[in-house]
């Protein structure tokens, strides 16, 4: 235990920005950046001036960590050509926007959590400037500041031309952003079509009009230790509720319990609560947006959660978003739900023990239970062009440029699963199969589920998430502090407050 204790501390201090600060929603995934003090002192081999042009204080702290991405991609240009060829395209008429004279662009997007995300985004922007002469300034904003800043941009009608915002933002600002149907149709035709989740968030609810271009989504499947699963007699995790429960019971008996937060962990706990609901065919709202939580399915989910809770490592009610990463890296848990960042961190760790753990780590799609498709969602980011921009064509051209395979390919493949594509053709890229452990991430946006499923996408679902309405419902029942029926009624009452307002 002593070794585990130190390992966990080390892991934490070398791999995290600041503890417990997740605000924006990323189901089961972490904001971990693999870096050590050693690699922070190294120089970034190329594109340094470009990166230095626009950095925040925190970015400058982790700038050196860009080497990590750079280590695997010594020549950006050369590789870009290679990976683009892996993406099949349909023959469609080229789409060319007449870029306005003297256009300049300002882009606001969420900060990166793995370095290639930012490195390649900037690289692509630089390429755009080189080809079109349009200077682009990209501001990377911390996740929790993203939504308030988007609101300010929308309300003041000033500032960035393009905002790459979170899930429901395009619906909230639908009247203030440009229609993107032409671009979405072009991209959809050229790249094999959009995934369901992209269609949910990209189009104005209830219409066929695209109001934003989904850029990517992050998801959190099962992460587990292969050897420990074998120890209790399994090669894979069963897809049904009973089977999953049995695995968890056996793992616990074998001294390797699993764990998933039911505390106030914005991404993790909400993602787990959603899985519990959706895998029982329960839902927060019906198609019309009426609260449908108080149902028999919800109560089944609550009862199942209670059984499952007994098999977990103690203390998961106190877990924040980083906690399952820490517990997993310390070897305290055998199984959890998480984004790719956990694997990314231990795989790239200088600690041989963690490297070994990475080899023993496997990902798998979440158990379906009663659902017909994997009951989990992804956190998407969507590019919106605000109507106040003087250069709408340049803005659309920029987004088009980013989404084309020459640019999108290298960006996506170097994010190794942290973001997943909204366009189906990108699923054919080799990196998705080169490391079989990434497979569950390839289909992140191939899901009908989203926050607030199955009602319209509104700000209300964000309020329900931020107030842990579903999480607290499960937590109070799983710990025996509330009866299933009463808890479901209370949660429905709280959710109603936000949905009726919206």
């Amino acid at each position: 235990m002593a070794a585990a204790y130190t390992a966990a501390c080390k892991f934490r201090f070398t791999s995290r920005h600041a503890p417990r600060e997740t605000t924006a929603r990323l189901p089961w995934s972490k904001r971990a950046t693999p870096r050590t003090w050693a690699n922070q002192t190294q120089e970034h081999p190329q594109g340094r001036a470009d990166i230095m042009a626009n950095i925040t204080r925190r970015d400058s702290l982790v700038l050196g960590a860009a080497t990590l991405g750079a280590g695997t991609i010594p020549l950006i240009g050369a590789q870009a050509q290679d990976v683009a060829g892996e993406v099949p395209i349909e023959n469609v008429a080229p789409l060319r926007y007449a870029i306005e004279k003297d256009a300049t662009l300002r882009v606001l997007r969420p900060a990166k959590f793995i370095d290639p995300d930012e490195v390649f985004w900037r690289e692509n922007s630089k390429k755009f400037t080189a080809q079109t002469g349009v200077p682009v300034r990209v501001d990377f904003v911390s996740w929790e500041d993203m939504r308030p800043q988007t609101a300010v941009v929308a309300n003041t009608g000033a500032g960035p031309d393009i905002v790459v915002g979170f899930s429901s933002d395009p619906q909230i600002y639908a009247s203030k952003i440009h229609d993107m149907t032409d671009l979405a149709d072009y991209l959809g035709k050229k790249y094999g079509g959009w995934y369901d989740l992209a269609r949910v968030y990209g189009r104005k609810w209830g219409t066929n009009n695209w109001i934003s271009i989904p850029i990517g989504g992050g998801t959190g499947p099962l992460v587990y230790r292969k050897s420990w699963l074998k120890e209790v007699g399994y090669d894979r995790i069963p897809d049904d509720h009973q089977g999953f429960l049995q695995v968890c019971q056996k793992l616990q008996k074998a001294g390797h319990p699993w764990g998933m937060s039911l505390g106030h962990a914005l991404g993790d706990a909400n993602g787990y609560a959603s899985w519990l609901l959706w895998s029982h065919n329960a839902m927060l709202t019906d198609e019309k947006g009426k609260i449908a939580l108080d149902s028999k399915e919800t109560q089944d989910a609550l009862k199942y959660a209670t059984e499952l809770h007994k098999t977990m490592i103690p203390g998961t009610l106190t877990w924040g978003d980083p906690s399952n990463n820490q517990a997993y890296a310390a070897g305290s848990i055998s199984l959890t739900f998480n984004g790719v960042s956990l694997y990314y961190v231990i795989k790239n760790s200088p600690d041989p023990k963690l490297k070994e753990m990475a080899a023993d780590t496997e990902h798998q799609e979440v158990p379906k239970g009663r659902a017909t498709r994997p009951p989990r969602s992804a956190t998407p980011i969507n590019a919106m062009v605000f109507k106040h921009t003087k250069f709408p064509n340049a803005a659309k051209a920029y987004i088009q440029f980013l989404m084309e395979r020459e640019q999108y390919g290298p960006w996506l493949s170097n994010c190794i699963g942290y973001w997943s594509q909204p366009l189906k053709a990108y699923a054919k890229m080799k990196f998705w199969t080169a490391d079989p452990k990434l497979a569950p991430f390839a289909a992140a946006m191939d899901t009908p589920y989203y926050d607030g499923y199955k009602g319209p996408v509104t700000p209300a679902s964000a309020a329900v998430t931020a107030n842990y309405v579903l999480v607290d419902m499960f937590a109070s029942v799983a710990t025996g502090n509330a009866m299933p029926q009463a808890a479901a009624k209370e949660a429905a009452r709280q959710a109603k407050r936000y949905y009726e307002k919206a």
């Binding site: 501390c9 309300n155 909230i172 203390g315 106190t318 700000p459």
Partner: protein
């Protein structure tokens, strides 16, 4: 000697209206206070007014709301989570304040004695207060961690007194007590050092006189220390109640209000609903709901504790 006496005539021009205005004492006072008043207006009155206004609207992040009167408060009235947070806040404030005062006063009395390295130790004592709250909160979060707690590690793996790790913040009541311990730890230096300053102003001759009269140490404390410390005690108490009541960082960093809202304070609930939850109006209403409690706490400390000694002077028993 011939002395010529020149008639002393001072011719004064009649004062201009401006000069007269500036000679006016009350005008000058008003003028001198203007910058301060401006600062207060801009940085205190405006935000407070805005908060009151927001509380009566359905503003969300992204949408300018409309006036809805007291609807937010009506909804909070029926909201068990809100009432839970009110209970938590009161419990947290009362117990933590009592704790930090007892321990702070005790520490102040100890520090008031002569002992080696006095200055050094007095400086060390301030550490919990100096460290930014968020940092100490993170340290406490690690101490309370169900998997990596140093306390559990010592008890279970080193001393073998227990075979289970402690679940400090995983169940409602232990979580509340754990937060109170962290809060008390953080505030003790503030209370102790301020009270120490008060103790130092008490003249030693009083104690000498008491000693000659044969007063026991407890009698000295009861009859000399406590009455003379009362003025400063009531000020520190007021401040401390206000700080504790509106505490945010500790709770937000350690439990985020969990497990299932049983440690939410009004301040953390207001933030959660207003900023991550985007419901600015509702969050403002919760913040506004804190005001009556804060006013009551202030009045209680002012008029209850400080009444005779502080408000009306010494010899008014």
């Amino acid at each position: 000697m011939d002395a010529t006496v020149y008639p002393l005539t001072i011719t004064r021009k009649p004062d201009s209206w401006l000069a007269r205005l500036f000679d006016n004492k009350s005008f000058l006072a008003f003028l001198c206070m203007l910058p301060t008043a401006g600062l207060l207006l801009v940085f205190l009155t405006y935000p407070l007014g805005l908060g009151l206004w927001l509380a009566m609207t359905d503003t969300t992040i992204g949408e300018r709301g409309k006036f809805i009167g007291l609807e937010n408060f009506e909804s909070l009235w029926d909201d068990p989570v809100f009432w839970l947070s009110v209970f938590n806040t009161l419990f947290y404030t009362i117990v933590a304040t009592a704790g930090k005062f007892l321990l702070g006063l005790w520490l102040a009395l100890l520090l008031n004695n002569h002992f080696p390295f006095k200055a050094f130790i007095r400086a060390i004592v301030l550490l919990p207060w100096i460290v930014p709250t968020v940092l100490s909160a993170i340290a406490w979060w690690w101490i309370y961690s169900p998997q990596f707690s140093i306390v559990s590690y010592i008890f279970v793996d080193v001393l073998h007194w227990s075979d289970r790790y402690f679940d400090f913040i995983g169940t409602p009541w232990p979580a509340r007590w754990s937060l109170i311990v962290a809060n008390v730890w953080r505030a003790i230096p503030f209370v102790a050092i301020t009270l120490l300053a008060g103790l130092q102003t008490i003249s030693p001759s009083l104690y000498e006189a008491a000693l000659l009269d044969g007063a026991s140490p407890f009698q000295q404390f009861r009859r000399i220390t406590l009455p003379l410390l009362m003025p400063i005690l009531s000020v520190v108490m007021t401040l401390s109640v206000l700080f504790t009541f509106s505490d945010f960082q500790l709770v937000y960093a350690i439990t985020r209000g969990g497990p299932f809202n049983t440690t939410h304070l009004m301040a953390t609930l207001a933030f959660q609903r207003a900023i991550p939850g985007s419901q600015l109006g509702e969050g403002a209403a919760i913040a506004v709901a804190m005001i009556p409690f804060l006013i009551a706490a202030t009045l209680l400390s002012y008029f209850g504790l400080g009444r005779r000694k502080w408000q009306q002077g010494e010899a008014n028993d």
